[in-house]
């Protein structure tokens, strides 16, 4: 490889991104070991990479420590969160039932305020491009509507919300509803999550078998 080719092809960036084949990499290494300008470029990108890694890791450790500190609510996946969220679902269902029994004008004072929420028909799992679910700012949850295929039945459902790095930020397992319907809607709590881009994955469980039902981009707006 000559210097001109190295510059034209952004070889230093490719090298640090590990985009070269073994032969190309050896070729570029042979070049930059003898070319001070390219060696300087490789050094600069490597220093940038090493320091960016250390800065980002330190910032994330700092944020995580702040989230764990007393008085700051944690939003990472935890059994406590699952239990609390599950209880919320039960309360929501209970309040709904109570509202129906009491009828209009007889809702207890402590009941949850009614609110509108965004609901999406989530696409069936496929290799096609993922649909984006734009959740408005300030939403406490969104609705995920999905259809079961003929003859399909699950004992329970599990969802996960993953961040850009693929780390689970939220998730729960919910028993299948008692009613028998092929169109279901699940209220997914999102209020603990900061605005940003996520991936929502919904799976159904039948005995030990987990089946992916849907996967979509989730965009929580600011």
């Amino acid at each position: 490889m000559d210097h001109e080719t190295a510059i034209k092809t952004q070889a230093a960036e490719r090298y640090v991104l590990d985009e070269f084949t073994p032969e190309e990499r050896t070729d570029f290494e042979d070049h930059y070991f003898g070319c001070m300008a390219c060696a300087d470029d490789v050094k600069a990108v490597s220093i940038l990479a090493a320091n960016a890694k250390s800065v980002i890791a330190a910032e994330e450790a700092h944020t995580a420590a702040a989230l764990r500190s007393p008085g700051h609510a944690t939003w990472r996946f935890s059994w406590g969160l699952v239990a609390s969220a599950a209880l919320n679902l039960v309360l929501l269902a209970g309040i709904g039932m109570q509202g129906l029994r009491l009828g209009p004008g007889k809702v207890p004072a402590a009941s949850m305020a009614a609110e509108f929420y965004q609901s999406f028909g989530i696409p069936a799992a496929s290799r096609a491009e993922m649909k984006t679910l734009p959740v408005p700012a300030g939403s406490r949850f969104f609705g995920a509507r999905f259809d079961l295929m003929a003859g399909q039945h699950f004992d329970s459902y599990e969802y996960q919300i993953l961040d850009a790095a693929g780390t689970p930020r939220s998730g729960q397992a919910v028993n299948a509803p008692s009613f028998n319907d092929t169109e279901l809607q699940l209220a997914i709590p999102v209020s603990p999550l900061p605005p940003g881009e996520y991936v929502f994955v919904l799976r159904g469980r039948q005995q030990e078998k987990l089946v992916e039902i849907s996967r979509a981009h989730l965009s929580i707006r600011r």
Binding site: L17, F33, G34, L48
Partner: protein, 188 residues
């Protein structure tokens, strides 16, 4: 003393044991050897052993009667010797090694990482400034590349960007870093 090229005079002085040239050679190529090994050798101790052995073998070969004659090939020669030494030492230490890829894929738990020599508080500060000027997506892209060490094809697929976009992002960050760093060094 600054050396701009590796010419016949440089090679002659290296062969004759000129201590100034020897020092430059060991420092300059020592750094390049560490850069070459950066993502392939996880153990700093192994990387250091490879560096020392490479420098020793190159100097020994240069002083032999039929050693390297063309000064323009010095860099490629050092790189080649480094490759063979890395394969050899990795094997002798029982490290995992494949012929065309990583010499050592095991993380040595007794050490932090081979990047330690590239990291400093001053460099951290400059990089922090550069990162703070990026939008959220570009920052996440760099996070995936540098922190998670994901392959660029995986990063591009995950974020829906073209490989060119990623390279240009890193190219620009590198240019800003070089500029800031040179400016800082000049004012120091």
């Amino acid at each position: 003393m600054l050396f701009q090229t590796f010419d016949e005079d440089y090679l002659r002085r290296l062969r004759s044991g000129d201590s100034q040239v020897e020092q430059h050679f060991a420092k300059y190529f020592g750094e390049l050897i560490h850069l070459k090994l950066r993502r392939r050798v996880r153990s700093p101790q192994l990387a250091e052993d490879i560096r020392q052995e490479t420098i020793y073998r190159v100097l020994r070969t240069l002083r032999e009667k039929d050693g390297l004659e063309d000064a323009r090939k010095l860099g490629a020669f050092v790189s080649g010797v480094c490759h063979y030494v890395a394969v050899e030492l990795s094997r002798s230490e029982g490290r995992y090694e494949t012929p065309d890829r990583d010499f050592d894929e095991q993380t040595d738990v007794a050490q932090e990482n081979t990047d330690a020599r590239l990291i400093s508080e001053e460099r951290n500060k400059e990089v922090r400034k550069i990162l703070s000027k990026l939008d959220d997506r570009d920052r996440k892209l760099l996070r995936a590349v540098f922190l998670e060490e994901l392959g660029s094809s995986e990063v591009c697929r995950r974020f829906g960007v073209e490989p060119d976009y990623l390279r240009v992002l890193i190219f620009r960050a590198k240019a800003r870093f070089k500029q800031a760093y040179i400016k800082g060094a000049a004012s120091a």
